[in-house]
């Protein structure tokens, strides 16, 4: 059965995520945690894009999740894993608020309002130093911080969960409605789908996932400040990963995240003597990657498989 095989794959991936971390070198461990957070925001961004909602505000979800978890944990000394609950809940609520406030805005107009909201959150974080520590930042209480291995395990498991969630979503009937919303929200409404409800649903799920990444990063670094937590770079990488891997697909954000983090590490190591050159090489590779593979790694793999299929068919017909 299709579905039972999927659960098997998920179980295997979870087992790997639990088993692997103790054996990782610090460098790889760091890479895995960063990969998990990138995976979460990339999947989250792709989910909204699939429904026609291009977000430029994913840093907003990230920062909101990070601050919520850190503040709750500092106030109550709750165990670190419990802090994901308020972090993701606030992210989801912010997603719903975003859907409500943007109403029927689409395309560029939607994108700009998400950017404005994420920037507004950053400014708010700066302006209420009593709560957030303002520009000086906020430390997470050290005693409740998990050790590295535990956090990496947790992060990897969460990203496996997010991949599974996005896969299940594409197999559900909601996928049709969301996919069709990308073409036209009014046509979808004409078919009996409430576009507002679906928009709120997808932004809530997407918001929760992106906030989850923020919570991981808060525990990982143990320190937050508005510039790092609401960094525009988060928004940008969250969309480069799906673009590079393959937009609107399940595998796309996953492959894209792995690819761009690997490339960024390799360029950093290779051009280690000068950070600028490394970043430049990284940027050039990304630009060419997107130019050469307009439908990402997934599209390239598909084309390649079709070509092999044709060659195979030709070979058998000749024999």
């Amino acid at each position: 059965m299709m579905s039972s095989r999927i659960w098997l794959v998920v179980a295997a991936a979870l087992a790997l995520a639990l088993f692997l971390p103790p054996f990782l070198t610090p460098g790889l461990d760091d890479w895995c945690t960063r990969l998990s957070t990138l995976l979460l925001v990339a999947i989250s961004w792709n989910m909204m894009a699939n429904a026609g909602l291009i977000s430029l505000g994913h840093a907003g979800f990230w920062g909101l999740g990070a601050y919520t978890a850190a503040l709750f944990a500092n106030a109550t000394h709750m165990p670190f894993w419990l802090s994901f609950a308020p972090g993701m809940l606030i992210g989801a609520l912010f997603g719903v608020a975003l859907a409500y406030l943007t109403g029927r805005l689409r395309g560029l107009f939607f994108a700009i309002s998400t950017l404005a909201m994420s920037e507004a959150l950053r400014v708010i974080a700066l302006m209420v130093p009593k709560l957030t520590g303002g520009a000086e930042g906020l430390f997470v209480v050290d005693e409740i911080r998990p050790d590295r291995t535990t956090l990496t395990r947790f992060a990897l498991c969460l990203s496996v969960g997010a991949i599974a969630a996005s896969y299940l979503l594409t197999k559900s009937r909601y996928q049709f409605a969301l996919r069709a919303m990308r073409d036209s929200e009014s046509t979808v409404q004409m078919l009996g789908v409430n576009p507002r409800l679906y928009r709120a649903g997808v932004t809530a799920l997407s918001g929760a996932l992106a906030s989850c990444a923020g919570v991981i990063s808060a525990w990982y670094t143990g320190y937050l400040d508005p510039h790092a937590a609401f960094d525009l770079k988060i928004t940008i990488t969250s969309q480069i990963a799906p673009l590079f891997g393959g937009l609107y697909t399940v595998a796309g954000p996953v492959l894209g995240s792995i690819a761009i983090l690997t490339i960024s590490e390799l360029t950093r190591l290779h051009f280690g003597y000068s950070a600028g050159v490394g970043l430049l090489a990284y940027g050039i590779i990304l630009v060419f990657g997107v130019l050469v593979m307009p439908s990402g790694i997934v599209g390239l793999a598909k084309r390649w498989r079709m070509k092999m299929g044709r060659l195979g068919a030709a070979a058998t017909s000749r024999a």
Binding site: V188, L191, N194, P195
Partner: protein, 264 residues
């Protein structure tokens, strides 16, 4: 005439501050095929949007099976059984034919009857069955129109609203599409049909309304309308009755707009 399934009472509707439909009233009885005729800009599609809930009313009431549904959003009207095949087809070109059809049966009531709906659509349009796995945008215009009607039928309509099903189709295909409209009507589904192709529409409809610059200017049986001079006028664009005042108003507005522009 039996109790109307649909009734518009003095319905006005439009876009921003221009009124496209001005205090129109019409009735459609259960099981009837009624057509709305008129030239470009007569307000046919706007009337359709008011019926299906895609635009808010500026005045008046829409009654469906005796209930006022004026405030109901479009997606809830679909669940009630008002399904639209929109002007310009509006199919999802990158989705397959099957996926387009399944989207039509998204609401819970229709989903329960999905299998029956598919069979019904395939008997009506055998050609769609051959193309189930194909991207909808790769089909011919006529096939896409069949898909748009089929998708609306998948919603299990009591009232099927067809907006310009002959738009952009070859004459032969127009015939095919109207034959299927007749076949749908025979199953007992009430049909509200909007058409520019008056001759084709009057062959399938029992009654019709003629719209001109946003107003119902004439109504009658299909046979009457086929003879009527007013129908000819409405299409050729001769000045319809009662439109003088509206035109004067519009001219005044245009002049004011022109003055506003010169100030700026």
């Amino acid at each position: 005439m039996t109790a109307p399934i649909l009734e518009l009472r003095d319905v006005s509707a439009g876009y921003e501050d221009s009124i496209a439909v001005d205090r129109d009233s019409l009735k459609v009885a259960e099981g009837e095929v009624v057509c709305l005729l008129g030239a470009n800009g007569a307000g046919k599609t706007t009337t359709m949007r008011a019926v299906t809930g895609l635009i808010p009313l500026a005045g008046g009431k829409v009654l469906y099976r005796g209930q006022d549904i004026s405030a109901k959003p479009a997606h809830e009207r679909v669940a009630d059984g008002i399904c639209l095949s929109p002007e310009g087809r509006q199919i999802f070109p990158e989705l397959t034919v099957m996926e387009n059809l399944l989207l039509g049966s998204f609401n819970a009531r229709a989903r329960a009857l999905r299998q029956r709906g598919l069979e019904q659509v395939f008997t009506l349009f055998p050609r769609l069955k051959e193309r189930l796995g194909q991207a909808a945008g790769s089909m011919s215009g006529g096939e896409q129109q069949m898909l748009a009607i089929g998708r609306a039928l998948m919603g299990q309509p009591r009232l099927l609203a067809l907006d310009e099903p002959s738009l952009g189709l070859a004459p032969k295909m127009v015939m095919t599409v109207f034959e299927s409209v007749l076949a749908i009507a025979k199953t007992g589904i009430t049909i509200l049909l909007v058409e520019q192709n008056a001759r084709a529409a009057l062959t399938v409809a029992q009654r019709g309304y003629v719209l001109s610059t946003g107003r119902v200017v004439h109504e009658g049986t299909a046979a009457d309308l086929a003879q009527s001079e007013l129908v000819q006028q409405a299409f050729v664009g001769a000045k319809p009755l009662g439109a003088g005042e509206r035109e004067r108003r519009r001219e005044r507005r245009l002049r004011q707009a022109g003055q506003g522009a010169s100030h700026a």
